[in-house]
């Protein structure tokens, strides 16, 4: 029940109350609605609740697109859930007439023809129990039988509601209790309460099919933490189990599922480009210069693109609305291999210098959608505000968050719920097949060599260029484990090494059947000042996520081949010991280097005698 208050609540309260005082409820609602749809705190909800009540007295109600008649069957005191749900529905433009059945009367309400539920004639019935209702002991001997009984209890309710009232059933799934005397043993015992609750959720999910809507409460409770989800004080005092944070989340997500069912989910996510899909401005940095793929920021944008791509494969249309030259806007999708999204992932692509509301209207027309089917996402709050003001039907997502928070921000939106999905709806592309994890592969593979082969690794080994300089310098700064010499370099130092005569400076980008890892390897090699036919390994390093995959052999294979062509006779290297890099202490001898004569700790690879190093498990891509 404990939360901390936000500091800016006072200004909002003053504005909302002033607007309500002038009967400008609609304007006040437009301020509050994004907070209800988003992650607004208790203050925002109390303000909105009071605004709606105050507005009702003045003849105003929040605008809605759909009407439903929702009956709520709680096994607990459901007044708070009902009140929160009403508000959450209004925020999602559903005008819900509610009937809250007396609590704990689930079967009676459904089966008794004279019940309040029967008189209400619902379009939707929410079944809202908790794990307290389940007849599971701490440890059951006859778990299978208990599961069958529970499953049939809930299914009978579903059937009764569907046949008697022709109403859509929405069911809250069960939250596995956090506190257990059995502790970690729970997971190992099939008859433990936790195991049974998990299994029941899975079986309810399988039984629901496409006719019953489920709200995955276990997932929601995990999101905010189970200690925050359940409030024992409220439970014992009033038979209401949830904290206020949990009530808001549960109400929002239940309303989102309802909105999906009545066709109010968004159909198309319209995205800005610069600093939304990649870091930087493509008009200034060029298609290779924008941040995507490498480095913390680039990786975050790549991950965001992958999330959006999966949203697209699930059936959400993606579109672009960008203020850019048309050609410049398309170039990264066509020319930058680190981009995860491709042009054909988008159903509409608008890049010109018009205002965003005009671009959105064109996109809606092109796709044959109403404006309320669009959600617009942009890192610039001003662009979002302009769209919200000009096109109130379009919901906006302000992505002025660090790139690492992009996925969470979009995933928290309530507008993307799907009522149903079959596997046929999901495009079956190659990357969707064989989704076994690398770990499964490792255990299934007969030997390490088989494992490496099964990864289907492909590398791109390239000269360091302006686009990769920064990443190269960053790797020397940050790599502590697989780093032969621990030499730290600035961008300028790397640049002058690259420009020096007869140097070999390469980055390695690796991908396998599971993931693109971006630039994860670096070698800097320079001619020896004493002996020009000796090539010194100034730097040889790998990012830790690709250790143990022969990427070092692949890098040196390239280096040795090029060195031979340039007339070098030896590769030379030394291990420099640091606090965390002992795993490369014997790297050079493992790769076939021999002790250099007369120099302690120096290792040579004789190019004329041994030729180019062989790399057997990684293929090159161009």
């Amino acid at each position: 029940m404990h939360e901390t208050a936000t500091a800016d609540g006072t200004a909002l309260r003053t504005t909302v109350r002033a607007l309500a005082g002038e009967r400008r409820h609609e304007e006040a609602w437009r301020l509050l609605r994004p907070l209800l749809v988003g992650d607004g705190d208790a203050d925002a909800w109390e303000l909105a609740r009071t605004l709606v009540r105050n507005g009702a007295a003045a003849g105003w109600a929040p605008p809605s697109e759909r009407q439903i008649r929702l009956a709520i069957l709680c096994s607990y005191e459901g007044a708070e859930l009902t009140s929160h749900l009403q508000l959450a529905c209004q925020a999602l433009r559903i005008d819900a007439t509610l009937y809250a059945a007396p609590f704990g009367q689930l079967e009676q309400e459904v089966l008794d023809p004279s019940s309040g539920l029967a008189a209400f004639e619902p379009t939707h019935v929410l079944i809202a129990p908790t794990a307290f209702d389940l007849d599971f002991p701490q440890l059951a001997e006859d778990g299978a039988q208990l599961l069958d009984l529970e499953l049939s209890r809930w299914q009978q309710l579903w059937d009764g509601i569907a046949t008697t009232f022709g109403a859509r059933v929405v069911q809250h799934s069960f939250v596995v209790p956090d506190e257990s005397p059995l502790g970690h043993l729970e997971l190992r015992l099939a008859g433990s309460r936790a195991s049974l609750v998990r299994e029941l959720n899975a079986r309810l999910g399988a039984a629901a099919g496409s006719s019953v809507l489920l709200v995955d409460c276990e997932r929601l409770a995990a999101r905010i933490g189970k200690q925050r989800w359940f409030d024992p004080r409220l439970w014992h005092a009033m038979r209401q189990p949830f904290s206020y944070a949990a009530l808001r989340l549960l109400a929002r997500e239940t309303a989102a599922v309802l909105a999906g069912d009545v066709g109010l989910s968004a159909r198309c996510l319209v995205l800005d480009l610069d600093n939304t899909l990649w870091g930087g401005l493509v008009g200034e940095e060029g298609p290779q210069g924008v941040a995507v793929g490498d480095g913390p920021e680039g990786e975050a944008y790549a991950a965001f693109q992958e999330y959006l791509r999966d949203l697209g494969r699930r059936g959400m249309l993606l579109a672009v609305a960008s203020k850019n030259d048309a050609e410049a806007a398309r170039a990264p999708f066509q020319e930058n291999p680190k981009m995860r999204l491709r042009l054909d992932d988008f159903s509409a692509f608008v890049a010109d210098w018009r205002r965003k509301p005009e671009q959105l209207v064109e996109i809606a027309q092109k796709l044959g959608l109403g404006l309320d089917a669009l959600v617009f996402a942009d890192d610039n709050p001003a662009e979002c505000a302009e769209v919200a003001a000009a096109l109130p039907a379009v919901d906006t997502l302000v992505l002025d968050v660090p790139s690492s928070e992009l996925i969470r921000t979009v995933a928290a939106s309530l507008r993307f719920e799907l009522p149903s999905l079959t596997i046929d709806d999901v495009a079956r592309r190659s990357s969707y097949q064989g989704r076994a994890s690398a770990e499964t592969l490792r255990t299934g593979a007969a030997s390490l060599e088989d494992f490496w082969r099964s990864l289907e690794m492909r590398a791109r080994v390239e000269d360091i260029n302006e686009g990769s300089l920064e990443r190269a310098a960053q790797l020397t700064q940050k790599t502590n484990q697989f780093n032969l010499t621990l030499v730290r370099r600035t961008v300028d130092e790397v640049r002058s090494l690259v420009a020096g005569p007869s140097t070999i400076c390469k980055t390695l980008a690796l991908e396998d059947r599971f993931a693109q890892h971006g630039i994860v390897g670096l070698v800097l090699a320079v001619p020896s000042p004493e002996t020009p036919t000796v090539l010194l390994l100034d730097t040889l390093l790998l990012s830790c996520r690709v250790i143990g995959r022969t990427a070092e052999t692949h890098l040196l294979s390239h280096v040795s081949g090029i060195a031979l062509g340039m007339g070098y006779k030896r590769l030379r290297g030394s291990y420099v010991e640091g606090p965390r890099n002992t795993l490369v202490a014997d790297l050079l001898p493992r790769l076939g280097f021999e002790p250099a004569t007369g120099q302690d700790g120096v290792w040579d690879y004789d190019l004329t005698m041994h030729g180019q190093l062989q790399s057997d498990y990684i293929e090159d891509v161009r």
């Binding site: 404990h2 303000l47 105050n54 206020y244």
Partner: protein, 82 residues
């Protein structure tokens, strides 16, 4: 604005947000005299006060039937103790 005035203002705001903006609630008013001050809004009130003042009130406060004045004293005591 003094700390004491600040406290009174915030306390009144919380009460008004939950019970209604048009009400004039005196120290002697309580669930018996304010329409809408029922058990549901009372628990909301306790939660909102705890949130705004970053305190935790005794569990018993959920079930009490206090007046605005006695609730204010309770919050003050808890603030002083924290």
């Amino acid at each position: 604005m003094s700390v004491a005035q600040d406290f009174d203002r915030i306390f009144d705001e919380v009460l008004e947000d939950i019970l209604g903006w048009d009400l004039a609630i005196g120290d002697d008013d309580g669930s018996g005299t304010v329409e809408g001050w029922d058990s549901l809004s009372h628990v909301r009130l306790i939660h909102a006060l705890e949130t705004r003042f970053a305190i935790r009130l005794p569990d018993a406060a959920l079930l009490d039937e206090p007046t605005a004045g006695s609730l204010k004293r309770l919050v003050r005591e808890q603030l002083a103790a924290s």
